[in-house]
Symmetry: D2
Subunit: 338 residues, 4 copies
């Protein structure tokens, strides 16, 4: 911790800070400059309370030096870790493409989706049975019936299923229905009770970034899951909220190299929700792979015109197939494969 | 709904949109300009799917006209509604000041807090037993024991208690401990399952604005609660996330007059979390009252230096008392009282 | 300057940083913790280049400690300074209200405006002769003719004139027409050549905050003016750009107490541009005075329906008069006057 | 223009709007729904004033339908246009890489830079002689001497020179020194007088996006240049300001496909300023090419450790060469070349 004293701080105030540091079991290091005095606190920073330091007399501000995330930090696992989803490695040289509709609608729609996803060469399938909707009057998902349709469809092609969990009370059901990857949505990134619960199970978790979550908050949300014992975490960038209104969200491509440096865990991207329009998906998906993403979550619907939600952002099966071609070429250009 | 056709849209494409509108039971109104054709869909907009319209051939974009919130809209209740908290009216001429510590720590701390809150002339008391913390390693609140301490302390002054609910599974406990006002925190503003549950009980709810929630999303979150049958909703502006780093959040004072126009429900402000520093609280609290807020949620601690969390944003009992004086004067200046 | 070394930094890398610090004439202060080594550089921080330090081998990051603004910093002038506009003090106990239309249109419109501004009790008058417009096809202001109309109208009531300068080449004209206060608009807050030029004249300058300028950048922009010799600077908060779309900008009320702490110069607020609608102005204006603003810049038009620009945000003369009443009461409530 | 009437609007108020529309030479189209009345104004929207409409009695809000940019709109030039820089086409199948240092320092540094830029296979060279700096005390560029050094160095490899113009008064000098591409920096994107002046010369202009400029504002800024007669405009995305503090700016990759759809003009990307760190540049540069950018502006310095500004974001000559290899492979993967 670094404590910057106010310009007019007295020696007694400096002593007060020193005493506080010692009382908490750390060592101080006082640097007296011509204009300012700076105090470094050496030792376990977590024993100090930033807010307490900032209200000690004479203190201008205090700043943490150590990062607060531990288990998910790359420091603790420099070579990068791979999350195993039923034998499919996320985080290795292969870029995993996860395709499927926004929401589960009918058995037939899911069967057609699974066929298209498999035919395009995707390695996993996505689909929502529980849907977070802005309006209470909008379709909220088929619920448990949706999980059934999904599993039945996905099994025909041996595709692992990826689906969103919104409510802690449904976790047992997700386990019973053998969901392969639990997705935590953007709005729940800091639903701490939900994070704690998925931290207690042994299932891969896709943790989407909150709409306005900083990288540091996102890493701390993952730390909540990891602290419970579940280290099978996959980060998913899905666009952030900014001032721009020409598209739904701004895909934060910079998050990819930055997360790769900060954490050993894999990072995937959802280009469909970021832009919000199907015609933007190819450019964003290509950019994500070129920037080093370990996978993509792409919306596809057998017939977008009939989709029950987000019809405008789903690719057709044909468009997905074409996009897979470009993604393969780009992955190769940077020494990976799809 | 207004549908703007692309410049080069064909008559057949216009017909396609018209057919879609009619198929959904609405009427069309086609305006052909020199450059653009615009189609209005007259009737119940909720029968139309915006995303579907936007992928019909020839459509440039579609825009909703009607607001999606109904119960909470001022249109439905033009004169403004008052939420009754054990006889204390929120939303009337009196500005309600709710004081208390960030978190419940000990029985003694809560007793001292209740004494100070009552002495300053506040009408309700706040305090957190369950704390949403960015880090899994930080103090997470005393839990149920905290509710006990809180109730015991508040009862001595007959102060209604306001406390945050984070987990749906704790709602019964909140009812059993007779919490007077359930607070939904910023991070849970779109925790839809939680909103649905508090919509089913008959308790006043303070709904804090999400860090980057738009006014429209906030109103829709309240609509989730209202749709369940609970109309005792109090909006609480607590600062939004922007690019500025000199303070924690930006208190969005404009939200006050805008909400007052859009909804009939009361609006309060939390100046403590917005700025994040005790020395900013008086200016922000005064501004909020001057802008028309129906109440304030102010952090105070009997001894901020010893506070277990957010020590730097809590007022001392003395500072709270002084601030109450200014707030009284400002309320009077605009024809209200504290 | 504080330099945090990477966890795996070698002793030789620490030495490299120490050498760099000494080579630039500063002294180092090395703190070796269990996990991290931190180096403080004591002396004139401006001699060090942050970017250079950050690319030295083994460096994790470097952070400035000293503030980069000097002349405008409160440290250099603790008691607060007053800017004198033809005898009217900005920054003292009186809150100065500056009223007038968005743009100068005709002599008659300016005469009526000046009459209304004076009748309402405002102390200065605003109006734009040169208008920054998003579209090249929109009305760009009357130019020099506008300055003439403005001066003629204002003189009848001895009101100092406040008007915006957009182009360095017009500064001589502004001096010739004896403009009393030069306004630098939000879009030009970092037009450094313009700042340098107004720094060379002896005229009060209102420096509006850029749409997404941080407090630190704003202070540095003022420092540009001050470094040229002109210390008559008035900060004007006018709303910042955020994700919210329900109103034009978010008035950043927190900027008032924060600026008051960081700089000795006066701070005023423009509630008209912030919200963008006349009906929002009273709430925002009242909040600004309650939060400690030294003045307000309020748009008023003798007949808003006929205004050539921003018709929807101008108050009528009657509305301005009513608002002045509330502002007087609020100012008194906090020990000031209007 | 679409005008939505308030729910309680009277027939007389609807008539008032209709009259206003007719008075301005447009035709109305009234749609009366069960809940709301909507009025379409058919004809030349620019004859209507949005703000005027919004203050007519009974009006809830008005919305433009037509886009305000004309010359730069893709509608007017569907096949995409190519900007010619001394025979080098920007906007065709070749992706143009523009390399060079942040600022011009010495003749030797520029010669070494030019050698490295040419050796890496870049087609143009960048370098700043006039530098917009946040602090008035920082190095402000070599000025005219810098232009001389730059031209001398670039000529040895016949590289067109790209450099930033900050002040209208320097435009003649830029013409005299035969600058090949005038760059307008982010902070000057809405310096309208500067835009008007570069609109009068016949030189390619790179228009950088303002830090918080919307796509629509950016297009309007280009329209200012185009309206003056200069259609040789190249858009340059360079990162936007958001809430994220882990990196300088967020590269808005979505802007590429969106601009490509809205305008016929070429779009390039500056990955160096966006992230602010050299180690982020490869991922961002690769993403930009994969997303369809027509070129890149990349900072390179013969010896970053000695750079006078932004040392931490410059690539070394070796790193630039390596990056060019990846960019070539990615360009090929999507059917283009570098």
């Amino acid at each position: 911790m670094i404590i910057v004293m106010q310009r007019q701080a007295t020696p007694a105030q400096v002593d007060g800070v020193v005493q506080y540091i010692r009382d908490n079991g750390l060592q101080e290091h006082v640097s007296r400059g011509a204009e300012l005095t700076i105090i470094g606190a050496i030792g376990d920073e977590n024993k100090l309370d930033l807010a307490h330091l900032e209200i000690l007399p004479g203190v201008e501000r205090a700043t943490r030096i150590a990062k607060q995330y531990k288990i998910v930090a790359r420091d603790t696992h420099p070579q990068g870790s791979v999350v195993n989803v039923r034998g499919i490695p996320v985080g290795g040289p292969q870029v995993q493409i996860i395709g499927g509709p926004c929401s589960v609608e009918t058995q037939e729609q899911m069967n057609l989706s699974a066929d298209a996803v498999a035919a395009a060469g995707c390695s996993m399938m996505r689909g929502g049975a529980f849907k977070p909707r802005t309006s209470p009057y909008a379709f909220q998902g088929l619920g448990v019936t949706g999980l059934e349709y999904f599993q039945k469809a996905a099994k025909r092609h041996n595709l692992p299923v990826v689906t969103e969990l919104m409510d802690v009370r449904m976790l047992d059901t997700f386990m019973a229905y053998d969901v392969d990857v639990i997705q935590i949505g953007a709005r729940n990134m800091q639903n701490f009770d939900l994070l704690k619960e998925v931290g207690r199970v042994n299932k891969p978790v896709i943790l989407k970034r909150g709409l306005s979550a900083t990288i540091a908050e996102w890493l701390m949300a993952a730390e909540y899951i990891a602290a419970g014992g579940n280290h099978n975490i996959i980060f998913c960038e899905r666009g952030i909220r900014t001032f721009e209104t020409a598209y739904r969200n701004v895909l934060d491509i910079t998050a990819i190299p930055v997360l790769k440096r900060e954490t050993h865990l894999p990072v995937i991207v959802d280009p469909s929700h970021a832009g919000g329009k199907a015609w933007m998906v190819p450019a964003l998906a290509q950019a994500a792979v070129a920037a080093g993403a370990d996978g993509l979550l792409i919306e596809m619907h057998p017939s977008p015109c009939d989709a029950w939600c987000d019809a405008d952002q789903a690719l057709t099966p044909e468009e997905l197939k074409t996009l897979m071609g470009s993604l393969r070429a780009i992955a190769q250009a940077i020494g990976r494969h799809v």
